[in-house]
């Protein structure tokens, strides 16, 4: 109940925002919004002891039970980590945003989107049903789109939002396909049930395709190589959004999905290599590219990509333990997963703080370009502290939490070399080497953040505003985060026991005890092990590379701009747009008759085409009623009248011929035992003819069609084909007798509706609503006629048309 409430509350709050905004104009809207994540965080945190005891909370609300789609909320260790991050970082970000965004911005939009995102994100991590998860997943993409484009007057914001949307949503659709395959393979949408019936799923031929499609969704969302290109552009969003969505929560949805589906797919070789391979590549590529950035936010974006790659690769490495099965010597490989979860939390703390730091610098100085910054240490000492602690933690230095998880990461990459499965004996060395090189680059960009912003000479003339320290309100949130950065370093095992251990149980449900899976985290093991040597190496080489940065920076220019992923993306989108507009312009040429031709040709192709293909055309005149001579005459009259309309030169002739047609139809109604129809038709036809005659005075004379013969022939052929299709299908359905007619029911009209005229009872009683709405249609048409006649164009308006 509480879990479902947690998902609902942000949505409800988002719906209330317009009212609150209107009512309390003088108070910053953020104060009201802050209540939502704070309450949710407290509520969810109250579950921690029970979750730590191994309890899980499931609750099902039926939605579409026939298709196995139910809203099942599921709170376990893994969901707990994410929901605490979402609400915890959410509270801090909203607090920060109160000071970051002035009341002049359209705050009601901003907080509405933010709450929408929060609810959607909670929905993703707390749903057990794959379909519900998918819905919330796409909702996070939508809200991210809205938030990136928050300053929609800027072109870059709009472009960034579109890019993020296209990439994450296409990945989401692939993921949906993967989910459907899982459904086909397992017969259920529930993740828990799929894990319970694992043998069936793993035996299915759809297992590997489903895995790859789900991974595509996860990789696009978590900005993994080569889909990472959207994340730097998403930095156009306001900094609180970047800190929240694009570093702490939304981009971790992909990580969540990988962690959640590890029990299903983990242990397969393809999964191991894809997840850890893409992860380690992203780790390297992100850190390598972060070094060349000049914009602090872009630098942080690439560093986020890199860190996400790190976490991703750890999940990949940890999945090897599932292949080996449970044994006392395989537990060591689960430590990679433990490190992943640990680093996930650490990353949110230090990266959130760093984003807020950049936001403060941007806010107080007016620029984020490191070429214009420098020497701010003395002027902004508090901000400087945040930067130092955040960066050192990210670089993996003690005494901060990043050091612990980085050490565990190194340990995991070293341990994996000992395995001889998945051809790891040949390629296993890749992991520690790439990880180590990437970490050196990480060290370099961390140094850039601190040194280029806060050391060196200040350049006041190149700054937008005179620099000064941020207001205290803006500092609260990052300081809480860096308190965690230090606090987790000092007491890592508290976190390990209460938060990480239950999550390990979610990822390795087949392993008997999660206690065993929880290593004791220590900063110093009493001796210098390989990991520590790697860290020393990182520091030494990192300092060396930073000192020589000027010398090797031109290396980045070597790679041709034409072949970057961004350029490829732009080319694909650009050519897609130009091709589609060319094709659209070719057939949407603005001529109504062409559009009619498309419709008719489609009509003929589909109906006649299908009728011929399925061979359903038949004609059986045996049951036809007899043809009387006067009926034959009437038919000929109609054919001639209709044919003559085509050749009539005078409007009066056309109108009269149409009258002939209408009255003949009325005659037919009489002959075919339909007196009501005949009456109506006579009245309506008379009015229509009168109307035509009235309109006469105002309408232009018929001009002979000035078109070439070939067009005339085309039109004639299409018309004949349409007529033939109608005739053939009409003849085929004439004797259709697969179903009982329902008309017999209405013949009891006297008892059912108290009327003797069956047609009248159908109109006035059985289907009275239809008739009522028909009257409404008449009324609307009447209104339309009246307004069109009476409405006078305003002065000057006519010029618009004649321009």
């Amino acid at each position: 109940m509480i879990v479902a409430f947690s998902i609902m509350l942000p949505f409800i709050a988002a719906a209330l925002i317009p009212f609150i905004y209107r009512r309390f104009k003088n108070i910053h809207l953020g104060w009201f919004v802050l209540v939502v994540p704070a309450v949710l965080f407290t509520l969810l945190a109250s579950y921690i002891p029970r979750i730590a005891n191994g309890e899980t909370f499931v609750k099902t609300y039926e939605w579409i039970p026939t298709f196995g789609i139910n809203i099942t909320t599921y709170l376990d260790g893994l969901s707990m980590i994410f929901s605490l991050l979402i609400t915890g970082v959410g509270s801090l970000v909203i607090l920060y945003s109160i000071f970051y965004l002035s009341t002049k911005e359209s705050l009601h939009h901003f907080y509405c989107y933010l709450l929408l995102f929060m609810g959607a994100m909670l929905g993703v991590v707390l749903s057990d049903n794959l379909m519900v998860l998918y819905v919330f997943w796409e909702l996070t993409s939508v809200s991210s789109f809205l938030l990136i484009a928050f300053w929609h007057h800027r072109k870059a914001s709009r472009a960034g939002a579109r890019k993020a949307m296209i990439i994450t949503v296409s990945g989401g659709v692939a993921m949906l396909a993967g989910f459907l395959m899982l459904y086909v393979a397992s017969g259920t949408f529930s993740i828990r049930e799929i894990i319970a019936n694992l043998e069936v799923v793993q035996a299915s031929a759809l297992f590997v395709p489903a895995m790859l499609l789900v991974l595509l969704g996860a990789f696009t969302k978590s900005a993994q190589f080569p889909f990472h290109i959207w994340l730097p552009d998403a930095m156009e969003a306001p900094t609180p959004v970047s800190a929240y969505l694009h570093s702490a929560t939304m981009v971790k949805a992909g990580i969540y999905l990988v962690a959640r589906t590890t029990p299903i797919f983990g242990g397969h070789e393809v999964w191991f290599w894809t997840v850890s391979g893409v992860g380690i590549l992203t780790l390297f590529w992100g850190s390598f590219n972060a070094v060349k950035q000049f914009d602090l936010k872009a630098l942080l974006a690439y560093s986020t990509i890199s860190q996400l790659g790190l976490i991703m690769s750890l999940f990949g490495l940890g999945s090897a333990a599932l292949h080996l099965g449970y044994a006392s010597d395989t537990v060591i490989y689960t430590q990679a997963t433990f490190a992943a979860l640990f680093h996930l939390i650490n990353h949110s703390t230090f990266k959130g703080a760093l984003f807020m730091m950049v936001g403060i610098v941007d806010h107080e100085v007016g620029t984020r370009d490191i070429r214009r910054l420098g020497g701010l240490m003395a002027l902004m000492p508090f901000t400087f502290t945040i930067a130092v602690i955040g960066s050192f933690s990210m670089a993996g230095l003690p005494p901060f939490n990043g050091f612990l998880s980085k050490e565990m990461f190194f340990a995991a990459t070293v341990n994996i070399m000992q395995l001889n499965i998945f051809s790891l004996d040949n390629f296993g060395l890749i992991f520690p080497v790439v990880a180590w090189i990437a970490s050196i680059f990480t060290f370099v960009y961390c140094a850039i953040i601190v040194m280029r912003t806060f050391f060196g000479k200040i350049q006041p003339d190149r700054l937008e505003k005179p620099p000064h320290e941020a207001p205290i309100g803006m500092l609260i949130s990052p300081y809480i985060l860096i308190t965690f950065v230090v606090g987790i370093f000092i007491f890592p095992n508290v976190l390990g026991h209460y938060i990480l251990q239950p999550a390990m149980a979610s990822i390795y449900p087949m392993f008997p005890s999660s206690e065993e899976l929880t290593p004791h985290i220590a900063a110093w093991h009493g001796y210098i092990n390989t990991e520590l040597w790697m860290t020393f190496g990182v520091i030494v080489f990192g300092i060396l590379l930073y000192r020589t940065l000027k010398k090797w920076r031109p290396m980045y220019q070597i790679f041709p701009q034409k072949y970057t992923f961004n350029a490829i993306y732009e080319r694909i989108i650009g050519s897609g747009e130009s091709y589609s507009s060319r094709i659209t312009n070719r057939y949407m040429n603005g001529h109504l008759s062409y559009y009619f031709i498309y419709i008719y040709v489609f009509f003929i192709a589909v109906l006649a085409g299908y009728a011929l293909y399925a061979d359903v055309l038949s004609w059986d005149p045996s049951k036809d009623s007899a043809i009387e001579p006067y009926e034959l005459i009437l038919v000929f009259v109609m054919v001639f009248a209709a044919g003559a309309i085509l050749f009539a030169k005078q409007r009066i002739t056309v109108v009269l011929l149409n009258g002939v047609l209408g009255y003949s139809v009325a005659f037919f109604f009489v002959l075919f035992r339909a007196p009501d129809l005949a009456l109506t038709q006579l009245v309506v036809e008379s009015i229509t003819t009168a109307l035509f005659l009235l309109a006469f005075k105002y309408l232009p004379k018929i001009q002979p069609e000035k078109v070439s013969n070939s067009i005339k022939i085309t039109k004639a052929m299409i018309s004949i084909a349409v007529g033939a299709t109608v005739t053939l299908i009409g003849l085929a359905v004439m004797n259709y007798d697969k179903f009982e007619p329902i008309s017999a029911y209405f013949e009891d009209a006297y008892n059912l509706a108290g009327g003797k005229n069956i047609v009248n009872t159908i109109l006035g009683d059985f289907r009275a609503f239809d008739t009522m709405l028909e009257v409404v249609v008449l009324f609307i048409a009447g209104l339309g006629v009246y307004t069109l006649i009476k409405l006078k164009a305003k002065k000057g308006d006519t010029d618009v048309e004649s321009k």
């Binding site: 603005g590 409007r651 139809v665 037919f668 007529g723 004439m734 005229n757 069956i758 159908i762 028909e774």
Partner: protein
């Protein structure tokens, strides 16, 4: 009789289609009017013709013709009248504003 009626319907539809494909608004309106006549006859015909008596209880002892198509057609007649009337006025208004009843003269600029 049914087959004959359906052939008649086919001819009417063909003529209506030809009129709808023309450029003049007036002819298009005529086309829609003829099309609705054709559809009314089609509905009535596929329900079966002269298979029974007028669907009024107490008039005859034998079976009634199918009343349901008749009710549908009655609705359709009224609606098509409303549509025709509206189109006619729309054409009038269009002619008044643009000075032409030729579709090919309308349609704005190509770069819109």
């Amino acid at each position: 009789m049914e087959s004959l009626m359906i052939i008649l319907v086919g001819i009417l539809v063909a003529i209506a289609t030809y009129l709808i494909l023309s450029r003049s608004v007036f002819r298009v309106i005529m086309g829609t009017a003829i099309l609705s006549h054709a559809v009314h006859l089609l509905l009535l015909t596929v329900g079966g013709l002269k298979k029974g008596d007028v669907p009024i209880i107490g008039q005859a002892d034998e079976a009634f013709t199918d009343a349901l198509p008749q009710a549908l057609i009655l609705t359709a007649i009224v609606i098509s009248f409303a549509v025709t009337a509206f189109l006619l006025v729309l054409a009038y208004r269009m002619y008044l504003t643009n000075g032409t009843d030729d579709f090919s003269q309308l349609g704005g600029k190509s770069d819109e």
